[in-house]
């Protein structure tokens, strides 16, 4: 059966109504993430098997409070539901309603009903309503709303079978409007309905509104909402059945007294950040090492066991390391999203916004920017993916833009070797280790750049979307492991497939450039090296190192390195550093590997001290002095603090902003900043 014939069911509801839990219950692992055409909003869809074996397509629409859109997410919902020709227009619309907050949630439901859409009401979180002592006369509610009402508790899977059963049948659009809007724009609505007699008055009103044909759009909207709420209030009074409260609210409020306390609130938040940071840094390191070992072993095994040739080389040295380079990020992504999902599920994330909003807003950021920025110290990839929680488009773009300026863990090996090279292992004032101080300054430098850049962007960026913070503070809930697991899976899949292909492609291009070169120097590398070594004693290993170094120096990458030498000379860099800058464009830590190849250090023996010794003895041919002086070393460190030397970051920015504009701007900005500040550093210390 083709997808077209499958019944399409859309889920819609307020944020925090448990819509995602319901989606997870209906689809389980049969989920896929795509894009809504043309916008940066993720589309989650999946297949659900009904009790009679029928397969239906489920689409999880973004959370919304009203059919009148106030954000990009909400616009997606309006665009789909107000256009019968839309490819995603549903056969059945399930409106998920939070039973513990029926009044506010019914606004959206009655709007959907009045549009003439085939609706089912899923009265969710009935357990929460129970706890605050509220029940409903469901029969009366069904009768008054003119729609099927199914009571569910999606977090534990109650009512799912009943809902599936209901989805087997076609939903009849029955009864009149809940609230008749004809009077709000009588002439225009009547005219519209003359032409489209099959539509409802509310449908007509929404079409007129979205086409901008109403003169007093805002006032009509305000009247509609106010009068509709009035009617909802009366209905809720009618159907409400008071019960004895189990007392959940006071419990939630007691937690808030501590978690938003002026001292404990921040202490706890900092501790949470510290745990996340530690986890990404420490827990992720062993699976990452494992992936690293497996892929380098696989690459070595392929090289020795397959017949020599270009395809073996491509496979063993281009493709396999490329895939390894993608998979290596998965442990960090999984760990970060386990935490983020826990914070979101429990309701703590809303408190983070509450605590941090005022501080972050000064810099054009959002309370929710804190988590991505801190995660950026481990790795910008999961950090940028974590900006998804920021609803405001401008604040989200600024956060994505500045996050890679935080010094990530891939910069650490580069910093380590350069500090060891040029900074003396001495103590200042008797207690502060110089090398440690420099390392700390590099991290601080990145953080200051984040704040300043964010502030500049805040002033530069124009947006029609006004920044406001009007959001529900959800009650605390125990996280569901199923939802956490599915979030991790979703994020890992998204990264692997969407950013992964770009990372692999660029890795292969860089591999080709580093392996091949103009002329026949590379083909004759061994003979040429041997010719220079005539009359000296050398071991097999030394010869191999010299050949590897010779090959790299004659490759296209070296040509690039030499070509950019005039440009990087003012920063104090020679063409050998130029080669490392080009190769480490794929990933910063490649700098160390490239340096060891250039300085002919056997790759198996990538010991930092060896590399340090070789680099440390490099002589500058112009001055006759040592090449890696303090100004050169500092300039190079500053360069790595700012430069966008990471294709994975580029790929993920592309994926998250759904276009090349932001990744290109980001690269130009960061590289420009790196160049100017390195130039400044070099001249200041020379």
């Amino acid at each position: 059966m083709s997808t077209k014939q499958r019944k399409r069911i859309a889920l819609v509801g307020n944020p925090n109504s448990g819509k995602s839990s319901l989606f997870n219950q209906l689809t389980g692992l049969n989920q896929k993430i795509g894009n809504f055409p043309g916008v940066t909003v993720d589309k989650k869809s999946g297949i659900s098997v009904l009790l009679n074996g029928e397969k239906v397509e489920i689409i999880d629409l973004p959370g919304t409070y009203s059919i009148y859109p106030k954000s990009n997410d909400e616009t997606v919902v309006a665009n789909i539901l107000l256009n019968k020709e839309n490819a995603l227009f549903p056969d059945i619309l399930v409106v998920v309603v939070d039973a513990s907050n029926l009044k506010r949630n019914l606004l959206l439901f009655t709007q959907m009903k009045d549009l003439g859409l085939p609706v089912i009401l899923a009265l969710n979180m009935v357990d929460m309503a129970d706890r605050i002592g509220v029940g409903y006369d469901l029969e009366l509610l069904e009768k008054e709303l003119g729609a099927l009402v199914i009571s569910t508790n999606a977090r534990v899977g109650e009512g799912i079978d009943e809902l599936k059963k209901a989805l087997e049948n076609q939903v009849m659009v029955s009864g009149g409007s809940f609230f008749d809007v004809t009077e709000l724009a009588k002439d225009q609505i009547t005219d519209y309905l003359k032409e489209h007699p099959e539509d409802t008055a509310y449908w007509a009103l929404q079409q007129l509104t979205s086409e901008g044909k109403l003169e007093e759009n805002d006032s009509v909207q305000a009247k509609d909402t106010t009068l509709r709420y009035g009617k909802i209030n009366r209905l809720v009074k009618q159907v409400e059945v008071k019960k004895e409260a189990i007392g959940l609210k006071p419990y939630s409020e007691k937690i808030d007294k501590i978690l938003t306390h002026k001292i404990w609130g921040y202490v706890i938040f900092l501790s949470v950040l510290f745990v996340i940071f530690q986890a990404i840094f420490a827990w992720a390191s062993w699976p990452m090492d494992l992936i690293d070992i497996v892929f380098s072993e696989l690459s070595a095994w392929l090289s020795t066991n397959l017949p020599a040739g270009i395809f073996t080389d491509l496979l063993a040295k281009g493709l396999v390391p490329g895939i390894g380079g993608v998979l290596i990020f998965i442990p960090q992504i999984a760990i970060l999203f386990a935490f983020i999902s826990l914070l979101e599920e429990s309701g703590y994330m809303a408190r983070v916004v509450f605590l941090m909003d005022k501080i972050m807003r000064k810099f054009g950021l959002n309370g929710k920017s804190v988590v991505p920025l801190i995660s950026g110290v481990a790795c910008a990839i999961p950090a940028i993916m974590a900006t998804r929680t920021i609803e405001n488009w401008k604040e989200r773009m600024i956060t994505i833009f500045v996050t890679p300026l935080m010094s990530c863990s891939a910069r650490l090996p580069v910093y380590t070797i350069l500090i060891a090279l040029v900074i003396p292992d001495e103590y200042v004032l008797g207690v502060f280790n110089m090398q440690g101080l420099v390392l700390l300054s590099l991290y601080l430098l990145g953080f200051i750049a984040v704040l300043i850049s964010a502030y500049i962007l805040k002033k530069l960026m124009k947006t029609t979307e006004r920044s406001f913070l009007i959001m529900e503070l959800p009650t605390y809930k125990t996280p569901r492991w199923k939802n956490v697991g599915l979030t991790i899976l979703e994020k890992v899949k998204t990264f692997s497939f969407e950013a992964g292909k770009i990372i692999i492609a660029v890795s292969i291009v860089l591999w080709v450039l580093a392996t091949y070169g103009p002329g026949d120097n590379i083909a004759n590398a061994e003979a040429n090296v041997k010719a220079t070594l005539v009359g000296t004693n050398y071991t097999e290993a030394e010869l191999n190192d010299k050949v590897a170094s010779y090959k790299l120096e004659n490759s296209y990458v070296a040509k690039l390195g030499k070509a950019i030498e005039p440009a990087i000379k003012p920063l104090g860099f020679n063409w050998k550093v130029g080669i490392a800058l080009v190769t480490s464009f794929a990933a910063r830590e490649v700098f160390v590997g490239t340096m060891s190849t250039i300085y002919s250090i056997e790759s198996a023996d990538g010991d930092v001290n060896t590399i340090k010794a070789r680099m440390g003895s490099e002589i500058n041919p112009e001055t006759g002095q040592l090449y890696f002086t303090l100004p050169v070393g500092l300039s190079l460190m500053v360069f790595y603090v700012f430069a966008m030397q990471c294709i994975s970051t580029l790929a993920i920015t592309y994926r998250e902003t759904k276009g090349w504009k932001w990744p290109i701007l980001q690269t130009i900005y960061m590289s420009g900043l790196a160049y100017v500040l390195s130039l400044l550093t070099f001249n200041l210390f020379s």
């Binding site: 009203s66 513990s100 909402t225 106010t226 909003d357 006004r466 009007i470 503070l473 009650t475």
Partner: protein, 76 residues
């Protein structure tokens, strides 16, 4: 000349009834969230730095910035 009291002026624990809105654009969002003229709201607590604030709207907690709270006038 006394300015009308707003939700932003409420102290923790104080109640007020919404009368009207000073910002048309924001009012549409606030209406969606159930802040209607005639609705009673209670100021619960503010963030440690005084902004944003948390108010109770008919049984649920709503977070909003102080500046936004000042656009909601209260019945005298």
């Amino acid at each position: 000349m006394s300015k009308a009291k707003t939700v932003g002026d409420l102290k923790p624990g104080e109640n007020g009834t919404i009368c009207c809105f000073k910002d048309d654009h924001l009012s549409l969002k606030l209406l969606d969230m159930g802040c209607l003229p005639g609705t009673s709201v209670e100021m619960k607590f503010s963030a440690p730095l005084g902004d944003p604030i948390c108010i109770d709207v008919e049984g649920y907690n709503l977070l909003l910035r102080k500046a936004e709270a000042h656009t909601i006038s209260l019945v005298e």
